[in-house]
Symmetry: C2
Subunit: 328 residues, 2 copies
C-alpha cells in the first residue's frame, strides 16, 4: 500500500480536476491510499481509500512563496507537506504555486542529509517517443559544478527507478560536444563527471540534439534548464499557431486540414510534456510532485501515478543510500 497526500486547492481548475484525477487513480490502483487536503465543503468524493482533511486556508498563485509557507499554516499545501514530513504519506502532489511548493519541499519535507541542493526534474519528449529526464529546470538559478554532479546522481536513480532504464546514459547540456567547450561551470562539471564511476557519463549534449538525442538523463543548472524548458514550450506553441493559421488560410487548406486533423492531434499530444506527468523535486526526504498549473485531470492523474511509483520504488531511500551522507 502506498499513501499519497494531495493538495486539493492548487491549480487553475482546482478542486474539480484534482477530484476527477483522484477518483480515477483510486479506482485504477487498488494499492493506493489518498489523503486529500482542502476545503471539505467542495469535496464530493466518497471512497474508503480517500481520507479528507479540512483546511481553512489556501496558497494562491500570487502569494510570495516563502512567506506563504511560513504564514499560511492551515493551507492545503503546507498541511500536505507536513503529512510527508511526519511519515503519514510517502509523497505528495500539488498543481499550485511552484515556488511555494518548492519552499514547502525545502522547509517542511526537508533535504536528504548530504544533498546540497534539490533539483526540479521533468521528462521531456523526443522524436522517438522515448523521452528523457531533464534537470534542474529551476530549483536553483545559481549552481556550482558540484551541484551538477549531484543532480546527475539523482537523475540517474530517477531514470532507473521511475522510468525503468537499467543503465541510463547521463549527458551534460553544453554549447559544444567537445570536452573543452562551455563556460567555467560546464567545463568544471564535465571533469567531475568524467572522473566518477557512479553513473554512465556520455559527455556533452547540445541543445539542438535534445529532441533527437539518445541521452536518458540531461543535466544542467536551473537557470539554463528553465530557459530551455520555456523555450521549448514557446517554440512548439508558436509553430503550432503558425501552422494553424496556414491550415485555415484558404478553403482548400481547410479541407486538407480536415483530412490531417487526427494525425496532427496525435503529433501535438506527442509534443506535450504534460503527458509525461509532473515535475518532481528530487533530493528531499519524501516525494514532492508538481502537476502543471493548467493541468487537465489526465495530467494530474499522471502526476499521482508518478508519485505512487516513486513511493513503491522507494527512490527516497535509494537516494539517501547513494547520494546522501549515509553513503560517505
Amino acid at each position: 500500500m502506498v499513501k499519497i497526500a494531495i493538495d486539493m486547492m492548487g491549480g487553475d481548475e482546482a478542486p474539480g480536476i484534482v477530484l476527477e484525477a483522484v477518483k480515477k487513480a483510486v479506482n485504477d490502483f487498488k494499492d493506493l491510499e489518498i489523503i486529500l487536503f482542502g476545503d471539505q465543503a467542495q469535496c464530493n468524493l466518497n471512497h474508503d481509500r480517500v481520507e479528507v482533511r479540512h483546511c481553512t486556508e489556501e496558497i494562491t498563485m500570487e502569494d510570495e512563496p516563502v512567506r506563504a509557507i511560513k504564514r499560511k499554516k492551515d493551507s492545503s499545501m503546507v498541511r500536505m507537506a507536513e503529512a510527508v514530513k511526519v511519515g503519514e504519506a510517502d509523497g505528495c502532489v500539488s498543481a499550485g504555486n511552484t515556488g511555494a511548493l518548492m519552499s514547502a519541499g525545502l522547509f517542511i519535507v526537508g533535504r536528504i542529509k548530504g544533498v546540497e541542493r534539490p533539483a526540479l526534474v521533468v521528462t521531456l519528449p523526443t522524436i522517438s517517443g522515448k523521452g528523457f529526464v531533464f534537470m534542474d529546470v529551476g530549483a536553483n538559478a545559481d549552481a556550482k559544478a558540484e551541484h551538477l554532479l549531484q543532480y546527475a546522481k539523482l537523475g540517474n536513480i530517477y531514470a532507473q527507478k521511475i522510468r525503468g532504464v537499467q543503465q541510463p546514459s547521463v549527458s551534460l547540456l553544453n554549447i559544444g560536444t567537445e570536452a573543452s567547450k562551455g563556460n567555467t561551470l560546464t567545463k568544471k562539471a564535465y571533469s567531475l563527471m568524467e572522473a566518477q564511476q557512479d553513473f554512465k557519463f556520455t559527455g556533452n549534449i547540445e541543445a539542438k540534439a535534445l529532441m533527437t538525442g539518445e541521452a536518458d538523463v540531461v543535466v544542467t543548472d536551473g537557470y539554463t534548464g528553465n530557459m530551455i524548458l520555456k523555450n521549448l514550450e514557446g517554440v512548439a506553441k508558436s509553430i503550432g499557431k503558425m501552422l494553424k493559421t496556414t491550415l485555415l488560410s484558404s478553403f482548400k487548406n481547410k479541407l486538407a486540414a480536415l483530412v490531417l486533423r487526427k494525425d496532427l492531434n496525435t503529433l501535438t499530444t506527442k509534443m506535450d510534456y504534460a503527458e509525461y506527468g509532473g515535475s518532481v523535486l528530487l533530493g528531499l526526504n519524501g516525494i514532492v510532485v508538481k502537476a502543471h498549473g493548467s493541468s487537465s485531470a489526465k495530467a494530474f492523474y499522471s502526476a499521482i501515478r508518478q508519485a505512487k511509483i516513486a513511493g513503491e520504488q522507494k527512490i527516497v531511500e535509494t537516494m539517501k543510500e547513494t547520494v546522501g551522507e549515509g553513503n560517505e
Copy 2:
C-alpha cells in the same frame, strides 16, 4: 561607394555559392566594390568592381581557431581581416570556421577601445515576421553584468542602423519577467540596465515569449544565447521532421500535403533565420559578418548586403562614439 572584403574559401560549398552571391550583389548594388580573397584558379568571376587577391592557404572547419589565425598568414580569412584592419575595406564576410573568424575579428581587426567584449549578433524570426536582434550567441561563454550592459548598447545601435528601428526596445532574457527573478548575473544586469538612459530598457523577457514578443533587441550571455539558438534550430527541425512523417504516413495525408505544400514552404522560409542574413561580430574596429556555414547563395548574398548597409550606416563609427572610450 562601400568596399567589402570576402573570404572566397569559407563554408561548405565554397567557392561556388560565394561567387554566385558576389555576382548577384555587384549587379544589384552599383555602389558596391568587392575584394575577393582565395584561390585565383577557382575564380570564374570577371567584374570591374570585383578585385581578386590570390591566397595560398585556407582555414578549414577542423582548424583550431586561434592557432589557425596566427599561423596561416596567407589564408583567405586572415588576409580578408587584414584588409579591414588597414582600412582598405569597410567590412568583411566569411562562411568559414566561426571560431577562427571570431579570432580574426579580435586579433586582427581588433576591438573598439572601451568595448570589453565583442558580441555575436543574429536576427531571429518572430511570428509577426518582424524579427528581433539577439545577442550574444557565443562570442563569450562567461559574461559579467557589465558586458551585458555593453551588449545592450551595441545591440541598440545595430537595431537602429541596420534594422531601421527608431527607438528599439531592449529586453534582458531571463527566467521570469519580474525584476527579482534570475541568477546572480541577470539580477545585476537588470539593475544596471534600469539605471541607464542610453537605450529604452523594457525589462525581462522569458524564452517562451521570444517568438511572440515585442522586443527589438534581446540581450543574454554567450552561453545562454548559443544554447537558445541551437535549441530553436533543433526544435524547428524536429517538429518539421515529425510533421513530414505525418504528412507522408498515408495516401490521404499525401494528397492533403500536396494541397498544402506551397503554404508550408512559405512557413518554413519564415522560420529560417538564415533568411535574415548572417551573424555579426559587434564591438570591433570594422564590420565582420559570419554567413552560415551551410549557406545558400541567397543567404551569403544577404550577408553581403548586411555588411554593405553596416558600412553605409557607419555603425562602427557610431559605436566608437557611443560605447567606446571616446564617449567617456
